[in-house]
Amino acid sequence: MVQFNLKQREITLKIVYYGPALSGKTTNLQVIHQVLDPDSRGRLMVLDTSDDRTLFFDLMPVFFKTQSGFTVKVKIFTVPGQVMHNSTRRVVLQGADGVVFTADSQKSLSKANKESWRDMANNLKINGLDLNEISMVIQFNKRDLPEVRSDDEIAEVARRGKEPVYKATAIRGKGVMETLEGILRLTWRSLNVKHNLEEKLQVTENEFITGVLKPSDRVGGPSFRQEEGDLR
């Protein structure tokens, strides 16, 4: 739940990457960490086990000061995907303002996607959050692998569902920042309707997006392109 600290002129939003095990949630966060300006993001906290599976969660804060003097913070979390960590997922999901559901594009993992979605719906409910109200985008990751759901199939899914759908190959940085921008815009709009943020904070949606997504100016950094045929 968005936190306001009017005394310190500060607002904190929470974005959570949810999805089945090994669908690339941590990879998304690693790319975001690499792309964003080091002065406007914190260190990437990765809490994984020795086999590179997320044990608790990953966390990276992003922050900027608005022209009106407010500090805007966005805390980006990932949940552990393995089934056994359900209670940790529930704790991490608590108070989320926006959720990116990172699905695995491989056909063989459709069932895992569905199970993770149901698990998320249940955990949202237990946390007092409404699946139909929370800001949500779906990312189909691992587009570079063979035996994945076809572009047509994903376009059809996107057409039928209400959640915006993004395609990504997070390991190559493709589609990651677009997905993040998508969820940030959706979350901002939703919070603006509820809390009248633009008037309270004197911040426009574009200032918010530009502030959070300020790229690193390091020369020779990786180039991150949008996945072709993005569905927005």
Partner: protein, 472 residues
């Protein structure tokens, strides 16, 4: 069943909390690092948290000079005022700001960031700037001794601005890394507790559901046993009449019978008695199941009871071509038990040994006293090991057959009620599946043990161990 939802985790999680500088650092260890740093550059510094509380104060080469000035009345006034001014100076951005005090020494003030927040500040100094000449301090009054002051000032570290800038950047970065590590550990440990608490709450809900389900099943089981007892009783009454009247007909109380009539009535009586046996088993089982079974213990000669049971099953053995080999040790002691129930147990086991034997097979029956190490895990025993005798004395009745045997994966289940090793509708052997369940219960209410060993196609051995010490 009423479904129970897991509890909500709406109470604020550690992930939503912000921490102060002091909460994220182990202050004792942190002070050691700071002292080491101050020693390296010979410049002291102070660290304050967001609310300006002093967390660390380490002295450097300027300490003696400042202490000398501080003991002068005018020096004390000026130093106190300036320290509070410097501490509260506004800093914007990440770069340090500088302040020259009345003595000509310089301080630098830099923010300490954590997750984009300035959660503390570093007050670095005093040091002697390389590019500044010390001012005249004669305004400090008559007690001021320029010679002492000059000597002590000579000890103060003289340093260039660019070096100070680099040292401060390095020090704040080190502190920020320590804060990050501290934050990581706080999150891991507290989130772990939160996750375990949430799992515990989930398990509690599941346990509650299981307990409720168990209670309902027990109630259903009790109803089932009551039903069995009632039905068995109601079936037995008319069946007794069927058998009784058949017997009267056979005894020609209603007149002479042809051979054919005698044969038919004989069959009615035989099948009626078989049915009565089955119904009695069900009744016995339901009595045991509902705890209604009462023992009538008397001094029992197990050898004689076994011999009598062998006699009972002998006609059945002859019919199936099975030989019974009976052996008993004469020293077998008399035990305290319900003789009828022990006979029922033995008849049942012997009956099975004959029924599941091969044609022209043998049943070996052996009665003997044995002693063996105590098993403290015996049913109903919760005594400490020290109070259990090392050896226990039993009368053992072993019944071995040379039949089909029991597959090893089914051995654990043969004492379960209604269980049949061959549960198919085309099975070779009849029965209710209650015989061994009743047998085990009857043995256990005597404080005894029933064990089975089996080798498929070689045969099975059932051993009943009855305690020589009477059960209290």
């Amino acid at each position: 069943m009423k479904s129970v939802s897991p509890p909500s985790t709406m109470d604020s999680s550690v992930l939503q909390k912000s921490f102060s500088l002091g909460e994220l650092l182990d202050l004792e260890s942190f002070r050691e690092v700071c002292e080491s740093y101050a020693g390296l550059f010979q410049i002291g510094f102070k660290i304050f948290d967001r609310s300006r509380e002093l967390l660390v104060d380490v002295k450097g080469s300027g300490a003696d000079f400042c202490a000398y000035l501080f003991q002068l009345p005018e020096g004390k006034v000026r130093c106190t005022r300036e320290v509070s001014i410097i501490r509260d100076l506004e800093i914007s951005g990440r770069d340090p700001i500088y302040y020259d005090c009345h003595t000509g020494l310089r301080y630098a003030l830099a923010p300490i960031f954590h997750e984009g927040d300035a959660i503390g500040r570093l007050l670095y100094g005093p040091y002697l700037p390389a590019d500044v000449s010390p001012p005249d301090l004669s305004y400090l009054g008559e007690r001021f001794n320029p010679g002492i002051a000059s000597r002590l000032l000579g000890n103060v570290r003289k340093v260039r601005s660019d070096v100070v800038f680099k040292v401060i950047r390095h020090l704040t970065q080190t502190i920020e890394v320590m804060l990050f590590i501290g934050y990581k550990h706080v999150l891991i440990s507290r989130l772990h507790v939160e996750a375990v608490t949430a799992s515990y709450a989930d398990l509690q809900v599941k346990n509650q559901e299981l307990a409720e389900s168990f209670r309902r099943l027990k109630e259903l089981d009790r109803l089932k046993s009551n039903f069995l007892a009632t039905v068995s009783h109601e079936l037995r009454t008319p069946l007794t009449s069927v058998i009784g009247y058949s017997e009267m007909l056979l005894e020609r109380l209603a007149g002479p019978l042809t051979d054919e009539q005698r044969e038919y009535i004989g069959t009615i009586m035989e099948k009626g008695e078989q049915l009565l046996g089955l119904i009695s088993s069900i009744l016995d089982f339901s009595k045991i199941d509902t705890g209604a079974l009462r023992l009538n213990p008397t001094p029992t000669n197990v050898v004689e009871v076994t011999r009598s049971a062998v006699t009972t099953v002998m006609p059945m053995a002859r019919k199936l071509g099975v030989t019974i080999d009976f052996a008993a040790e004469q020293k077998t002691p008399i035990i305290h038990a319900d003789t009828d129930k022990i006979r029922q147990v033995l008849v049942n086991i012997l009956g099975n040994a004959i029924k599941f034997n091969r044609k022209d097979g043998t049943v070996f029956v052996k009665v003997a006293p044995i002693s063996r190490p105590s098993q403290s895990a015996r049913v109903g025993e919760d005594l400490p090991v020290a109070l259990i005798p090392a050896m226990e004395e039993f009368v053992s009745i072993a019944v071995a057959d040379t039949g089909v045997g029991i597959p090893s994966d089914k051995l654990d289940r043969i004492f379960d009620s209604f269980y049949q090793v061959d549960g198919s509708s085309t099975r070779e052997y009849g029965g209710t599946g209650l015989g061994l369940a009743i047998t085990r219960n009857l043995v256990e209410v005597h404080g005894g043990i029933i064990e089975v060993e089996s080798k498929p196609e070689k045969g099975s051995t059932f051993t009943v161990l009855l305690p020589i010490e009477p059960v209290t």
